[in-house]
């Protein structure tokens, strides 16, 4: 049996000032053929799972093309067309195959394609014809559309956020592909849409956990292949935005429909529980100081590069400096200029720095400080935690600065912080810090929950803020909760 693997994965924040360009993909993940295998073998991600499952089952894996880059603005037409051509061309050259397993996201938006995944899947289905199973692993932050359902056989969204189960979904994709090809199952999928915008909700706690338990109950019943609660990605201004439930059964359309509707109803019932009340940076710091134990992790959810934010916001950093903390570390803030300045001055120097706040006014103005340069690194390390263990991170050159009792790590690439490994690279043992601050919405939980005395998420003005009223939505389908009155769901 031969399975072609590949994909295009992007989470698009259409409110970002700039566009995501071809160069962004090429400079991030742009993998053809063997490169794809080399990059993902041994990594706990979706493609890594596909590769391992195929090896275990004795299935030949044909790597085609995979590209991804950091969440950012709308994908440019040039980039979209090139990505499409590489993926379609790559798949074409491998035919015939018995199945396709594709790694995508679900919230991709391009110039000329509001529904990136739907558009690509449409062309792929046209390419391979109706008989070749197409299975797609997706992020639960995908805005799933009927077009995607219509042009695939199985959609497998991860269930967890932090997405520590992408590897398992990759395994499942290959296992299901084999069962479909052998005739053992005949998947039927139904989708339920809820006009709801949901703030970043970790699945380890209520209400997302409660909904997942509900899905799991459905999945335990006979004939149900998968039921997934897609949170959707709210930082996107397109008609498809919203929460969806996708249910797949073995040949039973009615069962799939009932499952999807039932879970949708449950989510709707819990909608008020999805509203979060987050403290401001100053409040978060005070809560941390009032907490016994070390470390207390403060996550600046509103400046999450993992959702397209600039990662150079200064609201939390300023509050921490104002609080004159001891034994505190900030890891990290994006500012290649300051990194350059630190490298030029050298270890041991004191520099007059203007840190962060260079992208726009929303994220705060630069922090002016005299900073001691303690350590300079190459910014490269490998993830160790439950989320994508084995994945290589490259932040470009970095610097560890010291301002008073605060260690500040400055980096040269926009990324979120997943785990303590970043701090270790710079010589910081987070268990000795009273406060550890970082920029991430929820993914950081995978690496920090095992070590934190307490976790506090803080919200401030930023591209991934919880306060959706800051964004000028024009194209979302109305009425939409929580903006409008009288929103309801199809029963």
């Amino acid at each position: 049996m031969r399975i072609a693997i590949g994909g295009v994965s992007h989470e698009t924040n259409t409110f970002c000032a700039g566009m995501t360009e071809l160069a962004d993909f090429q400079g991030s993940m742009w993998e053809l053929g063997q490169d794809l295998l080399d990059a993902h073998a041994g990594v706990r991600d979706d493609l890594g799972g596909m590769i391992d499952a195929a090896a275990r089952l004795g299935i030949e894996v044909v790597p085609t093309f995979f590209a991804a880059t950091q969440p950012y603005g709308t994908i440019s037409r040039e980039a979209y067309e090139r990505l499409r051509d590489e993926l379609i061309g790559g798949l074409r050259s491998t035919l015939p195959v018995d199945a396709l397993c594709l790694a995508m996201h679900g919230a991709g938006v391009a110039e000329g394609a509001d529904d990136l995944e739907g558009a690509l899947l449409q062309e792929i289905r046209a390419l391979v014809g109706p008989d070749v199973p197409i299975l797609v692993t997706l992020d639960l932050h995908g805005n799933i559309t009927q077009t995607m359902v219509d042009n695939s056989n199985v959609l497998l969204g991860c269930h967890l956020y932090p997405h520590t189960d992408m590897y398992e979904r990759g395994i499942e994709a290959v296992e299901l592909a084999q069962r479909i090809v052998s005739g053992e199952i005949r998947p039927v999928t139904r989708l339920a849409h809820i006009p709801m915008l949901v703030q970043a909700a970790a699945t380890g706690i209520h209400p997302a956990r409660t909904v997942n338990e509900h899905c799991a109950e459905w999945e335990s019943g006979p004939g149900v292949v998968d039921v997934t609660f897609f949170h959707g990605f709210p930082y996107t201004d397109t008609p498809d935005v919203g929460v969806t439930v996708v249910a797949t059964t073995n040949g039973d359309a009615d069962l799939a429909e009932r499952a999807a509707r039932d879970v949708a109803r449950r989510i709707w019932e819990l909608r008020d529980d999805f509203r979060q009340q987050l403290p401001t940076p100053a409040e978060a710091i005070q809560q941390a100081l009032d907490t016994d134990g070390c470390p207390v992790v403060i996550a600046e959810t509103s400046d999450n590069a993992g959702g397209g934010a600039a990662a150079d916001g200064t609201h939390l950093l300023k509050a921490m400096l104002a609080a004159d903390l001891r034994d505190a570390a900030f890891g990290f803030i994006y500012d290649p200029e300051t990194v350059e300045q630190a490298h030029a001055a050298g270890v041991g120097a004191a520099i007059q720095a203007f840190i962060g706040g260079k992208t726009d006014a929303l994220h705060g103005t630069p922090v002016k400080a005299t900073a001691y340069v303690k350590t300079l690194t190459d910014g490269r390390f490998t993830l160790q935690g439950a989320l994508a263990k084995g994945m290589k991170i490259d932040l470009g050159r970095t610097a560890r600065l010291v301002v008073g009792g605060l260690d500040i790590i400055v980096g040269s690439d926009r990324q979120q912080t997943y785990e303590p490994e970043l701090f270790l690279l710079h010589g910081i043992d987070v268990s000795r810090c009273k406060i550890v601050a970082l920029k991430s919405s929820q993914h950081f939980r995978a690496g920090f929950e095992p070590v934190a005395a307490r976790i506090i998420r803080t919200d401030s003005p930023g591209a991934t803020t919880n306060d959706f009223s800051l964004f000028p939505y024009q194209r979302i389908t109305r009425p939409m909760w929580p903006f409008d009155e009288g929103v309801g769901i199809r029963e």
């Binding site: 303690k374 350590t375 300079l376 690194t377 270790l424 690279l425 010589g427």
Partner: protein, 507 residues
């Protein structure tokens, strides 16, 4: 030998009145290797007057830190005078010795009427023309303060005990442990004992028993030293013995006074002191064969490490221990690690300011054509290792000791760099220093628990920091200034016969 106690006219001291001068001159001198040590080295590494001494040491787990803490707890005044120290190196220049002696004496004089003096000395200090630095200092201080003032010194157990020291000090308190995790406790005890002596509760008398033997640096955490220590503690528990210590001596120097010895401090009973000291000395002599070291060379040590289940396996290059006066830039073990093509090894660290500077200049992300180590004595310690090295990070070399031995102490090793050569992470530093805990590795982003092999330069002090986490500890002893193979040294001045270099019978 002993010192007669005399009735003190100050028996009715009250805590409020008590003033205890504290000071330090501490150096472990290797007269065989390395250039003479000038005063500038002491001034650079540890040179403090008055209140500076309090600020520097009050929170550190060291001898002086213990003295300061005891004074505070007992409500007596610690009067800081002068403190100087440098890490082990060559013979102290005459001018440096005289300067330090004069600084200490004038500070003690300037302190006015003091009731006692507590000094943190080492025991293996030697200067040009002054083989017995500690005996000379103690005599000079005694001349200043007179016979009635309790003069108590703490000592490292790598000490050449002499009659001059015994006859001029009221009590000598030597650490029992190696690694010296009990330096703080000895300092604390010194002040406590001084106060007890002042109040008439104790009248220390000492006996020194010298053995014609010399031993390589041997840990007290287990093995023969632990057994001897337990015998000493048993004596101490019986009452009458204030302190009984196995003084290992220091073999990496060429002076007539090197020896292994036992110092007993009894409460008024000279005969008891003599009996206890001789009992312990006899036990040491009886088990002397157990102090002979038979350590593998680097290739063999690596083989043994790879045969061990689990990690990390710590390989200590004992023969190039800066903590014993060796420069710390020998390359025998480093070369063996690179040649073995290991995939998971960390070396922390090798002394090489040139390479550290080269790495800082090139910056992280660059690859440099490096010549690592081997610059001080390539003939004995190995030539520089010539490799292309990737610069992963560069640091300011500043960290705080976490080991129970000296926890809280600030270390500053100058510019440092983390290089990567194949599968080996190599830390390079600009100051010579032994590695005693994993802080150095952490500073450079290395979690030692993840490595198969962790290599370092130390003889025993690393045990306090690494024994709790190591799957196994292996010592390797290639040629070097602090080798445990004592027969390899060309001694010219030591007193012979001395075991194991000669056959000797004792007593």
């Amino acid at each position: 030998m002993g010192r007669d106690g005399r009735d003190s006219p100050h028996l009715d001291h009250k805590e409020d009145d008590i003033r205890i001068a504290i000071g330090q001159i501490s150096h472990e001198t290797n007269t065989m290797f390395g250039p003479p040590t000038p005063v500038e080295e002491f001034q650079r590494q540890g040179w403090f007057h008055g209140q500076e001494i309090i600020e520097q040491y009050e929170r550190a787990r060291t001898y002086v830190g213990g003295m300061i803490a005891a004074a505070r707890d007992l409500g007596v005044e610690a009067v800081p005078t002068f403190a100087a120290q440098a890490h082990p190196s060559g013979t102290i220049e005459r001018a440096a010795f005289e300067r330090m002696r004069d600084e200490l004496l004038s500070a003690i004089r300037a302190a006015g009427a003091v009731d006692a003096v507590c000094l943190a000395l080492h025991g293996a200090g030697s200067a040009e023309g002054v083989d017995d630095l500690e005996g000379t200092i103690l005599q000079a201080v005694r001349d200043v303060v007179g016979l009635d003032v309790p003069l108590i010194a703490t000592l490292d157990l790598h000490c050449h005990s002499t009659g001059t020291m015994i006859s001029n000090a009221t009590a000598l308190l030597t650490v029992h442990e190696y690694p010296h995790v009990d330096g703080y406790e000895r300092g604390y005890e010194a002040v406590e004992l001084a106060v007890r002596a002042l109040k008439g509760e104790a009248r220390p008398v000492m006996h020194l028993e010298v053995l014609p033997m010399t031993i390589p640096p041997t840990t007290s955490f287990h093995g023969p030293v632990r057994e001897i220590n337990e015998l000493c503690w048993e004596w101490e528990s019986r009452g009458g013995i204030i302190d009984l210590t196995f003084v290992h001596g220091y073999p990496h120097t060429d002076v007539p006074i090197i020896s292994t010895s036992v110092i007993a401090v009894a409460n008024g009973d000279a005969a008891l002191a003599r009996e206890a000291a001789r009992d312990v000395a006899a036990r040491i002599w009886g088990m002397r064969d157990r102090f002979l070291a038979n350590l593998p060379l680097p290739d063999e040590a690596i083989r043994q490490a790879l045969d061990t289940d689990g990690g990390p396996v710590v390989i200590a290059e004992v023969s190039d221990n800066p903590g014993g006066g060796s420069p710390g830039d020998g390359t025998h073990l480093l070369r063996a690690l690179i040649d073995a093509r290991l995939t998971s090894a960390a070396f922390g660290f090798i002394y090489d300011p040139e390479t550290a500077q080269q790495a800082h200049d090139a910056g992280p992300g660059a690859t440099i054509a490096a010549r690592i180590g081997g610059k001080t004595d390539p003939a004995m310690m190995g030539a520089p290792v010539e490799v292309d090295a990737y610069v992963k990070s560069v640091t300011d070399g500043q960290f705080i000791t976490q080991s129970p031995m000296g926890r809280g102490g600030r270390r500053s090793l100058g510019r440092m760099a983390r290089l990567v050569v194949g599968g080996v992470d190599i830390i390079v530093g600009s100051e010579s220093n032994q590695t005693i805990d994993a802080e150095l590795f952490l500073l450079h982003g290395i979690d030692v628990n993840r490595y198969r092999i962790v290599a370092l330069k130390s003889q025993n002090h690393f045990l306090a920091g690494f024994e709790p986490i190591a799957a196994r500890i292996i010592r390797t002893d290639p040629p070097g200034w602090t080798t445990s193979n004592l027969r390899s040294f060309d001694y010219k001045r030591i007193s012979r016969p001395i075991w194991p270099l000669d056959e000797v019978s004792w007593p």
